[in-house]
Symmetry: C2
Subunit: 454 residues, 2 copies
């Protein structure tokens, strides 16, 4: 008898799982249907700011696989179909065809919830105006790009200085738009420690972006269905377009309404090591789930394509009859604004304190290549390590070309739970075009070890 897998959500988590399960089970053995409420399947949502900023011209290049591609692999991916209800007892879902408005119940043997994340949208007056955009799906990207092309905005305000806020601010400013960024915290990039975030703020100001910090948004002035200004604690910033960069939260309402367990604090769907929910045959993967942070030991919700793909692969292998577990995350992230590269992994100071660690820190200014080599650039590296053991807890890097990807060494070190003492002699590569003789990561490890020793 053919089993039926229904996948809710047609992007990274869902379609990676579908493809993986298909590799392990034939269509005769497992039918796979995926419902996606948007217009696109399997796309790079991380590419949206670059699409809006015209770094990437062609929308199609952001799409990894279309429904036609999936059909060729025996996966029935239906766009513009929204699952509006899950009935766990009856093992069926209610699906709305967003084009026709009709609804139908579809039965499943296995169900994968991969509904992703939604941009945080606090209940502020005017926030639902037509020109206030969240950035999560490719449909969001298309809407923003169309709005820019059609309305030719002169002024934009980006609300929130996280990755999306930064990248969108750059995308808008390169479109010739006058951009302000407002952030409630004392600096943008609150996933960095304040002094590292301050460097980001400076770089944005150098690009001509007006950066307002400690300015929580209180509401929006509107005219008709449009916002006309963003009102913060002390400012009133006129805006023709507003972009929300306040982070994303798991899009878990559907799952929660069905009775699936959702983390109290994370709002992410609870899964086991194999990405199965407490209900057998019901799985979840991607931004909608909560994940283990391997350093803090807390459950976290982090919306990132890498995690979504890895979780999707894990779910797909298990649905396909194989065995795979997802080991969690260490909070790695990388971004750039103009030519400033920004990367972090593990715990920043505030996070380490919240997790109960006693820690030391060290910060190192160095260069990306040998100091004498053409193209050498500044790189600032900060480590956080447990005071008692010397174990690395987190790393942050801010610098110019060639700086950021060094964070991967730190992420690997966190993964392996090594001490900064063990790190400081690691045999990292050196040649003048690639690194100073002591790679900045090694210098940071050495300085942090000195701090550990007191």
């Amino acid at each position: 008898m053919t089993e039926r897998l229904i996948v809710i959500g047609g992007d990274a988590g869902g379609m990676t799982a579908a493809s993986q399960a298909r590799r392990l089970r034939t269509p005769d053995d497992l039918a796979i249907v995926a419902f996606e409420r948007g217009h696109f399947t399997s796309y790079s949502s991380c590419g949206i700011p670059y699409f809006v900023g015209d770094v990437v011209d062609d929308l199609d290049t952001l799409i990894v696989r279309t429904p036609e591609d999936f059909a060729r692999h025996g996966i029935d991916a239906r766009i513009r179909h929204e699952v509006v209800e899950i009935d766990l007892d009856a093992t069926k879902v209610r699906v709305r065809d967003l084009e026709s408005g009709t609804e139908a119940w579809e039965g499943y043997d296995q169900l994968l919830v991969a509904t992703g994340a939604v941009p945080a949208r606090p209940p502020l007056p005017g926030i639902d105006s037509a020109n206030v955009f969240g950035v999560q799906t490719l449909d969001d990207g298309v809407r923003i790009k169309n709005a820019i092309e059609e309305t030719r905005p002169r002024r934009a305000v980006v609300v929130g200085g996280g990755y999306i806020g930064l990248e969108m601010a750059e995308a808008l400013v390169v479109n010739g738009i006058d951009v302000s960024l407002v952030e409630a915290a004392p600096q943008p990039m609150t996933t960095l420690d304040p002094e590292m975030g301050a460097i980001v703020a400076d770089a944005m100001r150098d690009m001509g972006i007006h950066v307002f910090v400690e300015e929580p948004v209180e509401g929006f002035e509107t005219s008709g269905d449009k916002a006309t200004a963003v009102v913060t604690k002390n400012e009133r910033l006129e805006a023709d377009v507003v972009v929300l960069g306040l982070g994303a939260r798991p899009n878990s309402r559907l799952a929660a309404d069905a009775g699936l367990e959702v983390g109290e604090r994370t709002r992410g769907v609870v899964v086991d090591q194999r990405m199965q929910t407490p209900v057998e045959g019901v799985w979840a993967a991607g931004d909608v789930t909560e994940k283990l942070h391997r350093v803090s030991h807390e459950k976290v919700s982090i919306a990132l394509g890498t995690h979504a793909n890895k979780e999707g692969r894990t779910a797909g292998i298990n649905i396909g009859g194989g065995y795979e577990t997802f080991p969690g995350v260490v909070g790695t992230a990388v971004s750039k604004v103009c030519d400033l590269e920004i990367a972090r992994t593990g715990l920043a100071e505030a996070e380490a304190a919240r997790a109960g660690f006693e820690f030391v820190t060290a910060t190192v200014d160095s260069t990306t290549r040998a100091g004498y080599f053409p193209g050498t650039a500044h790189i600032k590296t900060k480590f956080v390590a447990e005071r008692a053991s010397g174990r690395l807890l987190g790393a942050q890097i801010v610098g110019r070309e060639g700086a950021a990807k060094r964070i991967d060494v730190c992420a690997t070190a966190l993964w392996c739970e090594v001490t900064v003492d063990e790190m400081l002699n690691v045999d990292l590569s050196y040649a003048p075009p690639f690194s100073p003789l002591w790679d900045p990561v090694l210098v940071a490890a050495r300085k942090t070890w000195q701090a550990v020793q007191g």
Copy 2:
């Protein structure tokens, strides 16, 4: 009473140790004298090809610290002074002043042998001609650069296709010289597996370098004190200048003559974890020592500034009364030829076989950034892993801009002795300007794990 430390060799290993010891002990407590037979102290020998190739104009930028700098820190560094004999029983060294030709015995309480490496120079007819250059010290670099400027050679032959050979070939070709590179093996870069080395050969040919493989050098035709042609098995290549790139071997003759233990196979001075030789108070650091390869468990001789600095730091801390050990190496190296980046760590196939491992391999073609992102470039990544356990044994990367430094993740993974299974979900950074969604390293881990599973 003031102790006296004598350091033999004024570059990375020796002077790092001297500086480190000085930080821990005052000149009243420990006098430090360093003897260097060349004209320079503490320089970047890895920068020599870039100095010859005019990428770096100014010789001074390659010098980290001059004798005057050391004097200010209470270290007496004497250039053009060669230690020609060590008397371990009498705890003194015989020093020749190379300017005056006079000699004197100098007593020590602690001795550090940091005599570095010398370019391999097989006993072939004509190899000692005046225009056949090794590349090891900054004096070598100056000699080559002067020879190029004075004799304006039209044709150069580089003998040996290792890092130095590659980098020197590029340096010469950018000087407008017609360059041939001859290599005894089937491809240059024998530290890579053959199919990876073949890519390097292609890149060199694209630069206009004539690459001759499987052509061991048999001798040199000479006229007066100059070589005029390089004779290989099947070729006769006319040459106005010849550069040796046949690797380097520990410059351990002085130590061996004194009775210090030297590895049978490595010819490197034998040291313990703290860089002390079996003779108490006699230390060694840098290219002259043999090192533990943490993957093969063999002793190896690898001449690299990074190791020399780390060993020098270790020796200096211990001489200074502290405690530090040097944990060994995993064989990481990086280079570039034109815009081709080349990196490796751990064991290549032949090395893994020689060490007794049963292994599998996997090779992955990917991109350095998201496939759609401007500036994305090809990267080929190869992994070698133990068949039974899945433990990573080695990695090789060949690719364009942004490729090579990824080797550091593999070096860190080797350091921590993890399996490719443990690696494939590591939380590496992702954003479209920096990586495809699955970093090539993760894809290589995944494919290698599949190979392990058979």
